[in-house]
Amino acid sequence: MVPVQCYFVLSALLFFIGVFGFITRRNLIAMLISVELILNAVDINFAAFNRLLFPDSMEGMFMTLFSIGVSAAESAVAIAIIINVYRNFKSDSVDSIKNMKW
């Protein structure tokens, strides 16, 4: 059986890899992919906490399940916004969005 610390170290590393990508990249889609990595790291933590520390309950598992659903909705909305930004500014870099008006 895998010790619980391994899961936490793995998810912390994955989380901060995502943070690094979010800080350094300037492409909108690459930043969104980094956000997905961060969300997955947190989901690993929820599931590992629930399974290894409180194996009788299922709260963490349902939290992960709903988080997967919410992140699917979030990425759909974000992709729609990115497509609209590309249509208006002809670029997909965050630096191109100088102001939020038309």
Partner: protein, 172 residues
């Protein structure tokens, strides 16, 4: 022991694919390596005996979200696909890396220093039964989640309609 070997393989796959995903300059490769990360996380759920969660991860994330990303890249990112890639500034990468290392060290130290996680019991080596998952998902009693379930279905519908409205072409 077999679990530990499987965990090590999955950890190497997840971390390696994540590092390549955030450092590569081509967006399509980043999406592909994100797919590897998602499969690795699904493998972790299978390792924790959350079979339903692993199946949901594969079908929703690896099947759905990655498809959305690939379509968006094809629609948006013509220059990147034709070989011109995103520039990465060195100073920003250095500062980001420094911040990341400091934050990661802090979080891992806090996680490993606290005491409550060392009283974890032995994980029962059985799969969580599908029947209890289903009853908890649509039951209305204590520790049952029908309200959240209904809310998230409405929320998904609202998000899909909202993104259709945002992304539609303006008629002039």
């Amino acid at each position: 022991m077999a679990n530990l070997v499987m965990f090590c393989i999955l950890a190497v796959v997840i971390l390696g694919a994540a590092i390549v995903c955030v450092t590569t300059t081509r967006i399509m490769r980043a999406a592909t390596f994100m797919l590897f990360v998602l499969f690795g996380v699904a493998g972790l759920y299978f390792l924790l005996d959350y079979t339903y969660l692993g199946a949901a991860q594969i079908s929703v994330y690896a099947g759905g979200v990655t498809m959305i990303y690939v379509f968006a890249i094809q629609l948006v990112n013509k220059r990147t696909l034709q070989g011109l890639t995103e520039r990465m500034k060195v100073s920003r990468a250095v500062w980001g890396g420094l911040l990341t290392v400091v934050g990661c060290a802090t979080v891992i130290l806090v996680l490993l220093k606290n005491k409550f996680m060392y009283n974890f019991g032995v994980m029962p080596d059985v799969e969580v039964p599908m029947k209890s998952i289903g009853q908890a998902l649509v039951g209305s009693g204590r520790y049952e989640y029908v309200l959240a379930f209904e809310f998230i279905s409405l929320f998904l519908l609202a998000c899909i309609i909202g993104s259709l409205v945002v992304a539609r072409k303006e008629e002039k």
